[in-house]
């Protein structure tokens, strides 16, 4: 019983080790404390119950009960009996926690803070895994199966984190699994009794058996391969556009080290998640006196790493309650600044930033926990959340004329903004394309416009929530090649190109304009979530550009960045307010009004006549080719066999000495020549006999006739005559073949017969008539002789490789053995 108790404890420890990968999901260790409590409790209960020697299912049931109590105690709703006994209200509370966990999973980026729902979910999961592992190990005695629930835990961070997961937690989980297997095996061996060495010494239970070394080596090699092979595989997550995580959470170390509210939303995850959500729900209601509001923003991604655009945590520390700095641009020709007021009501948004329009100047109804990031123009908080917030703010809406922007020069190279917002990895393919796009453009604005226009349907770009994965290893190149994506791709690709052109740019997140039912109130749903590009111009500040086709996202057109998909552009218009596009105009109505669901009119013509056709179903050429290739592959053995048969036909085997050169003829006549020629003829006859015999043997193998390696040719042919019940003619042929081979092998003079080919055919035909059609089919298409020969060749090659490797290893061990380094030489 002590032994089994030991295994129980190891199983519990292995569960905890296997849960370690969750560190990369959570920002703190709270989840681990919960996991510790739940694992210790369930395991303790199992130990106690098992000591009572009850039926084998009872400990498992007791563990499940213990899990329930622990969950009730840790995640109490306040309505429990004695704080432990769950009541219906407890279960309702659990349900709420699960629902909130579901929302959190959708909205939160990793690492997440201690959110009750997620903690509940992880504790429940780990407890369940502990029970299942105990079940596999102790009840079913199949600890190898415990790897499955462990893998289930491990798959959580793998699925959640879009960058790669740290190796260490994986290694820890694998070590736990191996530990469990090893412990169980030791106990399994001990059940046989005590072990003794050859000389009668009693062996300690933990002394490894001679085989254990091999097992350990296998395990080590397995883990090393599992860790290293994925590193060697070329990753496709280099320079991803649609990925970005918070700066402070790329690994567990970072996520754990920082205190406070480390949670930040993975904006891209929110975006793609919500745009793909089947349910449409209101997220934000905003009331403004601006007749033509631009996008409401709540996030900025301004860092490009090899892993893609990422958002920094907002900083800057300007109290949001104070007056905020106004717009960078000054009122003047081509620049219209108009102050407005907006009142926001958050319906369903849970973030640490508040959605505001660009260039807010003053806020109201906000407490002191909110700050303003001057760079990002975001209102953020370290403690509070945007959940259910109601607030108001004043802002200045700026409108620029293209002419004014065109006058903006390039920033100085040492300008901090220039330095910070133009950093981008150099990819030759992107550079090449960029050079084409901006050739002939000189001012920053013209370059930006060229890039902006580049992402139009005319260039083949199509809006689709489904992105195609490419093979270039770089997401931006993939998008530029595939030309299919949604706002994530459009915004990031444009920002990337603008940066590559040396102009500061960043990606902004927020809502497109949304729906207005009652004049000045706009309802923003999850489908309005949007990303766009902001470009910095000297003297003007950050100017938004939206490369995504406006039709699909309810986009807002602007004078400085008109929708490139509109055929009739209105460039050159100066920016008096009357020339600005009229809000709620016909085209805007089409875009902003009833088109809140981008899917609905994805295939419909937009208001401006620029139709976006659905992707034509591609001709399945690859499929056809694949099927053909597979068929060809299936035919290879058959072809190979036919080729072999052809080559072996005795009458096709020629004497190289005779056919090569007419040497005997040119030599002087005499007895010597005769002997040479005779030898040649004998050799030829031998080879013919051998070829015929090989063919006969292969035929027997193909048709599944029994074959005895210890049989002589004579015995083999007699056996064939008997087993295949050959008729007289074929039997004579088989005997002739046997005799020819026998004499070719063993006699001084081989049998010279011209009848080998005919005999071979007769025997083959006779065999074919005897066997079933299935055997015939298999002999034709999957000839066993060829397949087994290939298999043997492969086996031989593997053996050679193994031998070579082990020789290398042995010589290395000889050279590197630590004993050589000991004083006293090589003792």
């Amino acid at each position: 019983m002590t032994q089994r108790r030991h295994v129980t404890l190891v199983a519990a420890a292995a569960t905890l080790l296997a849960a370690l990968p969750l560190t990369s999901v959570f920002a703190t260790w709270t989840w681990f404390v919960d996991a510790l409590i739940v694992v210790i409790t369930t395991t303790g209960v199992a130990l106690v119950v098992r000591n009572l020697r009850v039926a084998s299912w009872i400990p498992t049931a007791a563990m499940a009960l213990a899990l329930l109590f622990v969950l009730t105690w840790v995640f109490h709703s306040g309505h429990e009996l004695l704080g432990l006994i769950p009541t219906p209200k407890t279960f309702a509370h659990f349900n709420e926690l699960l629902v909130s966990a579901g929302t959190d999973m959708r909205d939160q980026g990793v690492p997440v803070a201690d959110r009750q729902g997620l903690l509940f979910l992880s504790t429940l999961g780990i407890g369940a895994v502990a029970i299942v592992i105990d079940l596999f190990t102790m009840v079913l005695r199949r600890p190898a199966l415990a790897g499955l629930p462990m893998l289930a835990i491990y798959s959580v961070p793998v699925a959640v984190r879009e960058d790669s997961v740290n190796v260490l937690p994986f290694a820890a989980g694998a070590a736990g699994f191996l530990w469990l297997m090893a412990t169980d095996n030791v106990h399994r061996v001990r059940r046989f009794g005590r072990r003794f060495t050859g000389d009668g010494r009693d062996v300690s239970a933990w002394e490894p058996s001679p085989l254990a070394a091999a097992g350990r080596r296998l395990a080590l090699v397995g883990v090393v391969i599992a860790v290293t092979v994925p590193m060697a595989v070329p990753g496709s997550n280099a320079g991803l556009l649609d990925r970005f995580g918070p700066t402070d959470g790329s690994g567990i170390g970072n996520g754990l080290g920082r205190g406070g509210n480390g949670a930040s939303v993975d904006l891209y995850a929110v975006l793609s998640g919500e745009l793909n959500n089947n349910r449409t729900f209101d997220m934000v209601k905003v009331q403004t006196n601006d007749p033509n509001p631009y996008y409401l923003r709540f996030g900025v991604a301004d860092e490009v790493t090899p892993a893609g655009f990422r958002n920094r945590r907002p900083g800057g520390g300007l109290a949001a309650t104070a007056n905020l700095p106004g717009p960078t641009a000054q009122q003047g020709p081509g620049v219209a600044l108009r102050p407005y007021h907006a009142q926001v009501q958050i319906v369903a948004l849970n973030m640490n930033t508040l959605p505001v329009y660009l260039q807010p100047t003053r806020t109201s109804s906000l407490d002191s926990s909110w700050f303003y990031d001057r760079n990002d123009q975001l209102i953020y908080s370290r403690q509070s959340s945007s959940r259910d917030k109601k607030y108001g703010f004043d802002y200045v809406r700026a409108e620029y004329s293209p002419e004014a922007l065109r006058e903006a020069g390039a920033l100085n190279a040492d300008d901090p903004i220039q330095r910070q917002y133009t950093a981008v990895p150099r990819i030759p393919e992107v550079e090449r394309r960029l050079a084409q796009i901006i050739s002939g453009k000189f001012t920053p604005y013209d370059k930006v416009r060229a890039i902006h226009s580049y992402f139009s349907a005319n260039n083949g770009f199509r809006y689709s929530l489904e992105t195609k994965s490419g093979t270039s290893g770089s997401a931006i190149v993939d998008f530029l090649n595939n030309k299919q994506g949604f706002c994530e791709q459009y915004s990031a690709a444009m920002a990337w190109l603008v940066r590559a052109a040396g102009i500061p740019a960043r990606v902004a997140f927020g809502f497109s304009r949304g729906n207005s039912q009652s004049g000045d109130t706009w309802t923003l749903t999850n489908r309005n979530l949007h990303a766009w590009t902001e470009v910095y111009f000297e003297r003007f500040g950050w100017v938004p550009f939206d490369a995504t086709p406006a039709t699909f996202v309810g986009g807002v057109d602007s004078a400085w960045a008109p929708d490139p998909n509109r055929p009739a552009d209105v460039p050159g218009a100066t920016a008096p307010r009357d020339d600005l596009p009229i809000p709620g105009g016909p085209d805007q109505a089409a875009a902003a009004g009833p088109t809140s669901d981008p899917r609905q009119d994805r295939f419909g013509p937009d208001g401006n006549g620029a139709t976006v056709t659905p992707p034509a179903s591609p001709v399945p050429i690859p499929t056809t080719l694949g099927v053909l290739a597979a068929l060809a592959l299936l035919l290879v053995p058959a072809l190979w066999r036919a080729l072999l048969r052809r080559r072996r036909r005795p009458d096709r085997i020629a004497d190289p000495r005779v056919t090569g050169a007419s040497a005997p003829a040119t030599r002087s006549a005499g007895g010597a020549d005769l002997v040479v020629a005779d030898d040649a003829a004998a050799g030829l006859a031998r080879r013919r006999a051998h070829a015929a015999w090989d063919e006969l043997i292969d035929t027997m193998v193909d048709y599944r006739l029994p074959l005895d390696l210890a049989s002589t040719p004579r015995a083999t042919s007699e056996h064939l005559v008997k087993t295949a019940a050959l008729d007289e003619w074929a039997a004579t042929g088989a005997r002739l073949l046997g005799q020819a081979e026998e004499r070719a092998r063993y006699a001084r003079q081989p049998l010279r017969s011209d009848d080998l080919t005919g005999s071979l055919r007769a025997v083959r035909d006779a065999i074919r008539q005897r066997v079933s059609w299935r055997t015939r089919l298999r002999a034709a298409f999957l000839p066993a002789s060829v397949l087994s020969r290939w298999r043997a060749a492969a086996g031989e090659a593997t053996t050679r490789l193994t031998v070579a490797v082990s020789e290398r290893r042995d010589s290395l061990v000889r050279v590197l053995h630590p004993r050589r380094l000991l004083p006293g030489g090589r003792r």
Partner: protein, 344 residues
């Protein structure tokens, strides 16, 4: 058997037709006495032509002695018979030096072994001392008495019979002695027809007495010379070595066959091939000879004895499992060849 040093030359080999006629005459002659045992008779003849010695082992009354006698009588050569009894002495076998008063010197009186064919009946009834007298003459074809070596004639063949059932008053053959016999054959019971025919033929008098020689020592020497010419390909030699090696490595055997066994196996194989009208040895010949030539030389382990596996069965098992080698290594038609019964 080491290189044969005989007094008289063997003579020229016979052409195939004459060889065939001579051997078939002998076989037919013996068959007049022993019906329905052609294979056994041919094997006995093959042993003779392979310059070996024959041990016939079977239950009483199946014609062991008759086979030995009829083989001897079919050939016009000197034949001596020794009835092995417990009181037989070595000098009765080898010969003895007696003092000749006339010449005032010791004179050698040759024993029973000085003949072309020596029939030793019930050989296991003599004491090991007497059996040992045969050791030198069977292997070296010479007799040494009082420091003087006397060579024996060619052909020289010992045909011994023994009874495996009756154990009382017998001395099992020592291992050295067994190893000197080229082959051990069993007669086996005749089939019903042969036994019926036997009743007719043997009813009145012993047909052995009527047997006339159909060959002579000179012919047999030439037959032996012919057998020596039979071709044994490298693969066949290799196969003989493999077979004998397999007996040494078999886990069922305590003692495997000796190198002498290898030699005699191949030699007998030549004789069998020649009797079959071939001038080359086949692995089939060696396979058919493995049990008679090897089985009596080997000693099974205690486990095999307990599980009642006879040495015959063990040797037959080895033959069944050992692949047949060929003289081919890799022919150009079969570069990846592996599924080939002959290729090793």
């Amino acid at each position: 058997m080491t290189t044969q040093r005989t007094q008289d030359d063997l003579g020229r080999p016979l052409p195939p037709s004459e060889f065939r006629a001579a051997t078939e005459a002998i076989v037919a002659n013996i068959e007049r006495v022993i019906e329905g045992k052609t294979a056994t008779i041919r094997l006995a003849l093959a042993v003779m032509l392979a310059e070996g010695h024959l041990l016939i082992e079977d239950v009483p009354g199946v014609g062991k002695t008759k086979l030995a006698k009829s083989l001897a009588r079919s050939i016009d050569c000197s034949v001596r018979r020794i009835q092995f009894t417990p009181d037989l002495l070595p000098s009765d076998v080898t010969g003895v030096s007696v003092y000749n008063q006339e010449v005032r010197d010791f004179e050698f009186k040759p024993g029973a072994v000085f003949a072309n064919i020596v029939v030793g009946d019930e050989i296991n009834r003599a004491s090991p001392k007497t059996q040992s007298a045969l050791l030198e003459c069977m292997e070296e074809r010479q007799v040494t008495v009082d420091g003087v070596t006397y060579p024996l004639q060619t052909p020289f063949m010992v045909v011994a019979t023994q009874n495996p059932i009756e154990m009382e008053g017998t001395y099992p053959l020592p291992e050295a002695q067994r190893d000197r016999f080229t082959a051990r054959i069993a007669m086996g019971y005749p089939d019903a027809k042969s036994e019926l025919a036997m009743l007719d033929g043997h009813g009145a008098e012993d047909p052995v007495l009527d047997l006339l020689p159909v060959s002579d020592a000179g012919t047999v020497r030439r037959l032996i010379a012919t057998v020596r010419e039979v071709h044994a390909a490298d693969a066949v030699r290799q196969y003989a070595v493999n077979l004998v090696t397999a007996t040494r490595e078999s886990p069922d055997l305590r003692l495997g066959a000796s190198p002498r066994a290898t030699l005699q196996l191949l030699r007998t194989g030549r004789a069998v091939a020649a009797l079959d009208g071939r001038d080359y040895v086949l692995p089939d010949d060696l396979q058919s000879l493995a049990v008679p030539v090897l089985a009596h030389r080997i000693i099974p382990t205690a486990e095999s004895q307990l599980s009642r596996r006879t040495t015959d069965a063990i040797v037959a098992d080895i033959v069944r499992r050992l692949p047949v080698p060929t003289d081919r290594h890799r022919s150009p038609y079969d570069t990846r060849g592996q599924y080939d019964p002959g290729r090793r």
